[in-house]
């Protein structure tokens, strides 16, 4: 494909600018949308990432990694190619990557969500000729209710658990989802504790001046024997079903994820409650955003690619599937839902 961006066996590549976008393995120069493991490869010589994501990327890549930090909206020239980063609203520091060369504009979204929340800059619509979009929840069964409603449900669940003297254990991905949960719940209901994996990322968020309610690392708090039955405990999904939960005594478990919209997925999780809260764009907004970018061509990746491409072609839009590095239909398979980072 003789285009500004091409797909190689290392991922998306810009030959003119000589850089990769979210490469699948180590390359000399990577422009990275966000710090989730399926977008961030280790060992690249140089990473161009958003300034707002600095602490999160550092937490993931360590101090040795060579980070070039670019504030949202500013442009850098890479061998004549103009590159700028724009908020994706997915997690702290997540960016859409705008690439311009000789008047042709591409936008690569990474993962994104259109409803604003307080833990990251809200999604910004960027007009372009070619739009490379994710499609994790690219089916019309996925249409998110306003997050306020979900947080009301979570708050109510926590209060009922308090009354029944049960600890409230809420599972969400350690990077991004957990902080969004913390920022969204009503912290006046009770004390909030966190799993180590969550607390570590909380520190990066706080360093980045994201406002989170007071939280305490469970193992540290254990010494003073807090009343777990009145508390909210936020932990990554990997803690589910482990002996780590035993310390809390009688408890109710819940999982917050877009997948929880489907009954089968909820039941398979074997948690007491499933709250529908996603950091990805839903069906309606996916179509809206594609339309509003004004793109003539759409590349669809990460998710229900075939469905979204067919829908777009049916509606007169030039659309193509872009494979991800993971093979097969991962979308709704159990493996994907078990993954700690991708949602």
């Amino acid at each position: 494909m003789d285009t500004l961006i091409t797909l190689t066996d290392m991922g998306l590549y810009c030959p003119q600018g000589d850089f990769y976008i979210d490469p699948w393995s180590s390359v000399p120069r990577a422009v990275v949308t966000h710090a989730h493991a399926d977008h961030l490869a280790w060992g690249c010589q140089n990473y161009l990432v958003s300034k707002q994501g600095e602490h999160v990327f550092r937490a993931r890549l360590g101090w040795q990694a060579s980070l070039q930090l670019l504030p949202y909206g500013q442009t850098v020239g890479l061998n004549g190619v103009q590159v700028s980063l724009h908020p994706a609203g997915h997690i702290l520091g997540s960016a859409q990557i705008r690439v311009e060369y000789q008047g042709e504009v591409w936008v690569i979204t990474g993962d994104y969500k259109t409803e604003p929340d307080t833990t990251c800059m809200p999604f910004e619509l960027v007009r372009c000729h070619t739009f490379v979009t994710e499609s994790t929840f690219g089916l019309p069964i996925y249409r998110w209710q306003p997050q306020r409603e979900t947080f009301d449900e979570i708050n109510q669940w926590w209060r009922i658990n308090q009354r029944e003297k049960k600890a409230s254990i809420l599972f969400g991905y350690a990077l991004g989802k957990a902080q969004r949960l913390l920022a969204g719940v009503d912290s006046s209901i009770g004390e909030i504790f966190t799993h180590g994996a969550v607390e570590r990322i909380n520190a990066s968020y706080r360093e980045s001046e994201v406002l989170l309610p007071p939280t305490e690392y469970v193992s540290r708090a254990a010494e003073r024997k807090p009343d777990w039955s009145q508390s909210l405990i936020v932990a990554p999904p990997s803690a589910r079903g482990t002996s780590w939960l035993r310390r809390f005594g009688d408890h109710s478990t819940a999982f917050a994820s877009g997948w929880m919209a489907i009954r089968g997925a909820r039941r398979r999780r074997a948690v007491d409650r499933g709250f529908v809260l996603s950091d990805h764009v839903d069906w309606d907004n996916l179509l809206r955003v594609i339309n509003e970018t004004g793109a003539e061509r759409v590349w669809v990746t990460h998710g229900y690619t075939a469905v979204v491409v067919r829908w777009l072609i049916d509606h007169g839009i030039d659309a193509h599937i872009v494979p991800t590095r993971f093979e097969g239909e991962r979308d709704d398979s159990a493996d994907n839902q078990e993954n700690d980072e991708e949602n």
Partner: protein
């Protein structure tokens, strides 16, 4: 154990019956569906029963206990109207269905949010919309469905779709419902269980009678709850004490049933609480000789020339609406008696088994009819002697041994302690996964329904059994992932999978069949283990399986 728990857990409920909107029932459904904890389920049920009025409670009970209204709207109409209401293309609807695995849920997710909120009660929805829909013409049916979809939201809509398609199911056992009713009403559990048996109508009157502290029941057809056994094995038997304290019988493979004779009428109930009186005229004819006030627990068996026939023969009779002379003479049945629960109009379930057996023997002698058999005792002075008897079970066409403590009362439901089933070891073979389909419910969107093949004479793998249970969640995920990566072809929901994975299957019996390419069918097939140590060439052949067939 139960008594202790029930007292500890019993709570006082202020019955404050009021008309609750259908929403409240949907909330109950969600609560029951969300949790796997039995106490949480019981509490949710008890709360509902305490809050809802009698009519709503009766309908809720009706649906929760698995009774259902026959399918009112078929899938085709539902599909057509759903496309109309959601405005999406058929192919996209298909993609969504594939991801969700359930039509009722797919529709409820695809519909726009409700435009108005209904305060109609569960009873209102069922009696003024759901039940009458059957008699309406298609255009009136359509209006009711589209109207319901506009007024109901989220879970309510899902519940409605499930009720209307006759597919409403929720994960609560009869035992949990019984516990919740006892907890909410203060009526003891055994009485509740008995009042729940048989054919009752979901009315406010029935509800009042169900939770009444005093008994005033007069339903002559009502069966007793069946006592069911837990499985056991040789290693566990020594803990049961002396073999001599136990009554051993064959575990027969027929239809467990209760035969009731009261006020000059006979009723035959299956274990699934289906009234099957009409299906077995020879049993009903025989039962006229029983004294009024007699209830016998036993097994309906196909029986010819003093021998039990394979269960498949009985299946030929079960499916039929009308019973021809030919089928009646081809597959005659007997009622093999296990136990007597009522005698002379008195409930004798609390008497020890040894005494009930004496009464049962007496009934046999008085009736003296070959259609009423007595389950023979299996002799064995020790567990080892009984084990030797059990080994010969398969030759006798029985499933194993039943062990019943001679002093035991006839209890309610499945309980440990007094009755055990000790099945013959299953037959096992190694087979190759060749087709896969998505599961449903908890397993929707995962490939969990497998078809297995074995080698035929010309070196092809031919399908011979479908099975799904027996794998761990982890293994299911691995197999699911294998299937997705190794699909050769798709036929509708079925995928042809590259032959590579070998599983050990267990089954209880084997029959000739025209349904499977292999010409055989197995009873209760299930996956015993995933044989990752084997390659497909190690799988069994049709020939070795045919050798297990009973002589023709």
């Amino acid at each position: 154990m139960w008594k202790h728990l029930s007292e500890k857990r019993r709570k006082t409920y202020a019955f404050d019956p009021k008309v609750e909107p259908m929403r409240r029932f949907a909330e109950l459904y969600a609560e029951l569906d969300n949790t796997t904890k039995t106490n949480a389920k019981v509490d949710a049920l008890a709360r509902y029963f305490a809050e809802a009025n009698a009519a709503d409670s009766a309908w809720a009970l009706y649906f929760l206990s698995g009774r259902r209204v026959k399918q009112l709207i078929n899938a085709r109409k539902l599909h057509t109207w759903a496309l109309e209401a959601t405005g999406i293309d058929e192919w996209l609807f298909g993609e969504c269905y594939d991801a969700v695995g359930d039509i009722a849920e797919t529709i409820s997710l695809l519909l726009p949010r409700a435009t108005r909120q209904s305060d109609l009660s569960l009873t209102g929805w069922v009696e003024t919309r759901l039940m009458p829909i059957r008699t309406l013409d298609e255009s009136a049916q359509r209006l009711i469905m589209l109207g319901a979809w506009e007024e109901l939201d989220g879970t309510e809509r899902f519940v409605w779709n499930k009720l209307i398609t006759g597919g409403f199911r929720v994960g609560v056992s009869q035992l949990l419902i019984t516990r919740a009713l006892a907890q909410a009403s203060g009526v003891d559990k055994e009485t509740v269980a008995h009042r729940l048996m048989g054919a009752w109508q979901p009315t406010a009157d029935y509800w009042a009678q169900l939770i009444a502290l005093e008994t005033s029941s007069s339903d002559v057809s009502r069966p007793y709850p069946f006592f069911l056994a837990y499985p056991t094995e040789r290693a566990a038997l020594d803990a049961l004490g002396e073999a001599g304290d136990w009554q051993a019988e064959w575990k027969w493979d027929g239809i467990r049933a209760q035969l009731i004779r009261r006020e000059g009428q006979s009723y035959l109930w299956s274990r699934g609480e289906e009234l099957i009186t009409e299906r077995f005229p020879e049993i009903i004819e025989m039962s006229a000789a029983l004294a009024d006030g007699t209830v016998i627990d036993g097994e309906i068996l196909p029986w010819k020339d003093g021998l039990v026939m394979p269960f498949a023969q009985l299946q030929r009779r079960i499916g039929r609406k009308t019973l021809s002379k030919k089928i009646l003479s081809d597959v005659p049945v007997i009622f093999l008696s296990y136990d007597v629960l009522e005698w002379g109009g008195h409930d004798i379930r609390e008497q020890p088994l040894s005494e009930r057996r004496v009464i049962l023997t007496h009934i046999m002698a008085v009736t003296n009819n070959p259609v009423l058999g007595l389950s023979p005792l299996v002799e064995g002075a020790s567990w080892d002697e009984l084990a030797a008897q059990r080994e010969r079970g398969r030759e006798r066409n029985v499933e194993g041994l039943m062990l019943k403590r001679k002093t035991s009362p006839y209890r309610v439901g499945r309980q440990r302690g007094d009755w055990w089933k000790w099945k013959v070891n299953p037959l096992t073979i190694d087979a190759v996964l060749i087709y896969a389909q998505r599961g449903s419910g908890k397993r929707a969107s995962l490939y969990t329904d497998y078809t297995f093949g074995v080698w035929n004479e010309t070196g092809e793998l031919v399908s011979f059994a479908k099975a799904y249970s027996g794998l761990t969640d982890d293994e299911i995920r691995q197999v699911d992932s294998y299937i997705r990566r190794n699909t050769l072809e798709k036929f509708g929901p079925v995928r042809t999978v590259k032959a590579e994975l070998v599983f050990e299957l267990a089954f209880e019996g084997i029959q000739r069949s025209t349904r499977h390419k292999s010409g055989i069918a197995v009873r209760f097939p299930r996956i015993l283990r995933w044989r990752t140590d084997k390659v497909i060439q190690d799988a069994d052949t049709l020939e070795t399986i045919r050798a297990l067939l009973p002589p023709e």
